[in-house]
Point group: C2
Chain length 102, copies 2
DNA sequence: TCAGTATATGTCATATTCGACATAGACGCG
DNA sequence: CGCGTCTATGTCGAATATGACATATACTGA
């Protein structure tokens, strides 16, 4: 997935189909982007729910505050690996992860 | 996650706890590794179920046969992004993905 | 106002992951 | 046997993601 492509997703508000068409993403690419965005939002929710700061979460997962901020703002340079690591580091379980995915 | 760490997971057969202790993984790191391995196995299952060769799946997802082979053999150089892309490219739905995760 | 805290954004050198390719082994079929 | 197909493994240069750091903004409360 091209960084320049998903970058533009941040100028959001569009419907998924429209964005996909505009960016020329395949169905699966689009699905993955949506999945990541959903999970990114879930990280913020899980973090704030436990009263953690971005810095605190970053420490838990061995990363840095700026990375956590990028996760939560939907930066396209963030891997699914890192998003899932962040989600689990909030204390969320694998079962909760499955619920977000499904 | 270090490649050298998960590499050794391939000499498998151990219980999760033991491997984790041996490799010095945190709980979350270990959970992520297990998650990836689960999903990697699911890719093979989904692919063969549809009678696709590794080459055919690779074409569908714009990758190469060797990458698909690495996915299915649990190679640690494979990102979660790529695993999920492969899984969806088999024709599996996001819902099915959630079921594997949960 | 000022200090402290939280979050956003940009950059950098380094590390990781990528697709592609070569090649080897296994298997079945003629 | 020889040939085609499928899968495994290793390696490459290129592409991408990483943590760290600097810095900007905003919002507290003293």
């Amino acid at each position: 997935m091209k960084a320049t492509k998903t970058k533009r997703l941040k100028a959001a508000g569009w419907k998924a189909g429209t964005v996909q068409q505009f960016l020329g993403l395949s169905d699966d690419e689009a699905a993955l982007v949506e999945l990541k965005l959903t999970l990114m939002a879930a990280v913020r929710q899980a973090r704030t729910k436990r009263g953690l700061s971005q810095t605190a979460l970053a420490q838990r997962m061995g990363s840095s505050q700026s990375r956590v901020a990028k996760i939560e703002t939907g930066d396209p340079s963030i891997s699914l690996d890192l998003i899932v690591r962040a989600f689990l580091a909030t204390g969320a379980t694998r079962r909760e992860l499955g619920r977000v995915f499904g």
